[in-house]
Subunit: 140 residues, 6 copies
């Protein structure tokens, strides 16, 4: 990492319901694979999204990115999931199983689009999605 490069990281909580149901599977396969996560109406979590944005420290502001911008990106990407049932209310997960891995991939794509549009010189270095404090997925 270059001397004047830094990563700024920020967390945001969102609360969603989900259930695991692989359409290709029989009911038995679904239960064997997903156990308690395969129910008709689902359960839920307080997800916590962490994004790590890398870039040069701006010569004038001495920041990588303004906190207001960072929060606006986090709100833009989590708002469509917050207080929703992922399987029923979010187009992406009507077909795809909303595992933590898949939600993380979805959010990475959304964050990248926001960064590309607003701050093309900045890069999403890492994204972490916590399902609970003790279980999370990390992607680069």
């Amino acid at each position: 990492m270059d001397t004047r490069t830094a990563v700024i990281a920020r967390r945001r909580l969102f609360s969603s319901a989900h259930l695991y149901d692989q359409k290709k599977f029989s009911r038995e396969e679904n239960l064997a694979t997903f156990g308690r996560c395969h129910t008709p109406h689902g359960h839920g979590h307080n997800y916590v999204l962490e994004i790590f944005v890398e870039g040069r420290i701006d010569e004038r502001t001495k920041m990588v990115i303004d906190l207001t911008d960072l929060d606006s990106i986090l709100l833009t990407v989590t708002d469509p999931l917050d207080h929703q049932h992922l399987n029923f209310d979010v187009a992406e997960f009507k077909e795809k199983v909303p595992t933590t891995e898949n939600i993380a991939l979805y959010l990475r794509e959304k964050v990248r689009i926001e960064l590309q549009t607003r701050h093309p010189s900045l890069k999403l270095k890492r994204l972490r999605l916590f399902e609970t404090d003790d279980l999370w997925v990390e992607i680069e």
Copy 2:
């Protein structure tokens, strides 16, 4: 508090979905009252239940209650809610609105029954139910 009396407290997480829908209300009243919590399929949380059990320190074991017993009580009362949709899967909340307050009252009743059956000399001094780290309900 008597010298040999103590309170032992224990936490347990469970993950559920819920939604707020007061049957007596019109759709407009439901939206005005519950906002984002009034959706057809709901959202969810990692709830954390804390129970505070008060009693005399046993002369022989030097404990108020054995941890295995305490965990068994917590499992017994939270298991019917864990990985369930409170409104659709739990009889209590098919009619009652599963607000954090109502879930706490329901859990207090269940914990009291377990204590009464297993350890009639012990008392549930306090119960806390966290919806997130920053929002919780406390009842005595």
Copy 3:
């Protein structure tokens, strides 16, 4: 506590600077009493305010108080302190020393006024003000 009474608790962070300087003291007394907290420009903290609001669970909403209202009260009382230097920017602390104890008393008064105005049937049962995770003041 009556069966249908509950306490709802909520946290909010605010970031302020402060310094300890008792006008009645000589410089020597100030240093002896306040040590590193007695400097000309001060230092700062991420304060966390927790308020515990007690009341009957409303028959219709099944809540003690709506979360939006609760957050509005917290914002109203912490906003005048957030991102401010308590000694120089907040009238209350131009004369009074902004110890955690004094800030807690000030906030209790402000929360009580808000509750009295908005929800006269609700009571502030407890208020906690954290200076760090390991040091806080609790008043009733």
Copy 4:
């Protein structure tokens, strides 16, 4: 609580080993009662002690107690336990079983002596001893 009264709370971690062995018990009773806690050499914890000290806010300092004093009390009472094996190195627990309840009673006595000596007008309102983040004992 009087308007000018407050409780100040402070945490301190100490790391100790312990084991549960009730001398009056046979080996079978010990194992049946204490399970994995009954081993010849013991195991250990990062204990966290929280003390809640109540008193009037001093008219001159605007504090209940100075943080340096509070930390000195915590150090005085936890230092004899820190980095020790409670059963073998601490007189109190050569006979008594070092359950969390018993350690809490022991620490309450020690804190009361310190407060009585240093600040007779202050009162230990509550003491909490955490064995882990999810299990603790609270005494008054």
Copy 5:
């Protein structure tokens, strides 16, 4: 990292006693090197192990590894240490000093064996072992 690759991380607590005693050292050298950690009976900690498992997201389950498997691995590797005295009860540490670094190396080996046996396509990307919340060792 490939688009469909993710890291899943999981935490588990275990409670052990340990002491630092380098057989090659004289008592003076042991005290000079290890300070309060060199006692005859030891002290203890709530250790927290975090493992970061990297692999492709399975096409059918949309997960890197099932949570039940992950927990089984963590239980398998930590159970021989949990509620034990590392120096007296665990073969590995009868000779080797159970510093956090050495325990981390030991656990990495054990986790790798479990992964190799159960999920040869998955890789242990990182392992963190916390002695307290504020002190930990990280190895790859």
Copy 6:
């Protein structure tokens, strides 16, 4: 990473005041860029510094670095900032804007000097500076 190499990480809190004021900017530019962080007297934070020190595990002590040394380094680098107003009391920030990015760069330089002097074979692998639990900067 070589088999016998590990990273040891350690946290330390310090409390400082700061304000954002870019001398090159007009008042309007300062307000537009820094918002609530541009005030005459500033606000403050409980900063948490984490340093990640990488090196070979010493053959004799089985540690990368002794905890006393690690804490001494952390104290040496944070003490000049702790309970100070960064803009008025710390030479470095009389001209430079004390953004979290800039404070992190400053601390990295200071930690490197300490490591170079005391333990030239060890390397600062990563440094994280938290402004709050939910916002931090990470540099290598």
